[in-house]
Amino acid sequence: MTGVVQTVLFWGLGAVAVAAGVVVFRTDSMARATYALAASFVAVGAQVLFLHLDYVGVIVVLMMVMEMAVMAVYMVMFMGMNPALMPMSMVHSRKTSLGVAAGAFIVLAGGALLVPWPARRGAPAVDLTVSLGQATMGSKMLVMLVVSPVLFSTIVSALVLALPRSRYDRLGDDLRRRPAEDPQPGGVGR
């Protein structure tokens, strides 16, 4: 692709991302809002491809579409009065949110414009994904290795605390009941 086409596409994708982001708040349907957000993320993922970070870009698309597909279920289930199957407004606390959004935009955009960005020294690495990974995690691998089991055990313990039923409900007081008594039986028959 020539430089001009690339530039037009890159800025076009940026415009799509922002427009889809606006639609999130303008639409009156939870489903449309969720998938407008997904479209915004997909446009950003496509922009990342232009930075020659193919892996990161494709993963952004993959994760965000998956996340929004699941999110749509929860949004429809929990947001709104009679689950969000009916049209409803996507905004609340209008003034506070507008103030916070404007403040965050000014800080971030101002920072992006005012920070003295360094000039490029040397050439870009051959494999940008590898060098990005090295730069973000290379010297902090120990932290990463510790953080992931901590995060995982947090999820598991939060689930254990949140679940109303324990193993005694499933397997009886002596834990000997087989198969377990589940409101929703699984396919393996445990």
Binding site: S29, V58, A69, A72, V188
Partner: protein
Amino acid sequence: MVTVSVAWAPLALLLVVAAAWWAACLDAVVSGGRWGAPAAEAARLLRQRRRTLLAADRLLWRLGGGGLLVAALLMVAVIPLGRWTLSDLGVGVVWFNAMDVLVWALVWMAGWGANSTHALVGGYRFLAQALAYELPLMFALTAPAVGAGSLRVADVIAAQHGLWFVVWMPVAFVVFCACVVAFSVQGPFAAAAAADIGGGVLAEVSGVDRLLLLAGRYALLAAGSAFAVVAFFGGGDGPWLPDWVWTLVKTFAVLSVLVLVRRRVPLLRPDRLVEVGWVLVLPLTLLQLLVVSVVVVVR
């Protein structure tokens, strides 16, 4: 690998539609119908007027129905036909995975858009099923990538010269094929469009929308079969015939087997499937991945 111009994309679409057509015809014949039945049904649907529904979310509905075919075409974009490919993307395997995740959103939108209970239940059923098959699918895809030491589809094919991955990654292959049937909403994984909910996501679609949805499901099956060929059957690898012929022959063979086998398996309930997927299939796939990794390290 030769990257061809985007101008060849219509040919890729034509091949996907031809393969989908073949799958539909084969299915019609083994169901006791005629070879021409899908053509007749397509002609009927093209002439049929769209059903109008109260408060339907037309945008999401049309996106969901028409998107399946687009997702299938985007999958095929990284699958080489012999030595020609539309895109020699360095992360082709992940690209395929991302495109099959699009199906999550598309099927749910097809179910949501109609503003009909049965269609909506179908959409939710598909998401439950997707939670069951997606992780096994990801790790089944990881096996050939680890075997080749690359996420580039061309490298995966090159690494199979001499010994196809299907020989020493049989579990990953079988899991992958099952997942292809699952993301195509077909056979035992068609609970989202099952008769017990009046056709589910298909309950309200009519006319050209229905045609696109039905064709999209077969197109996904065809694209998945084509990816099974490059990931496990050496792509265009084969004697005497040109490599592009081999790619097509193998794809049609895998597709035909999937069409025939999926008919023999009863419908699986998505709520039961999640446990099977996570407690049984996922560990099996991880074991397969372990074997592949050990082989790669030792060799």
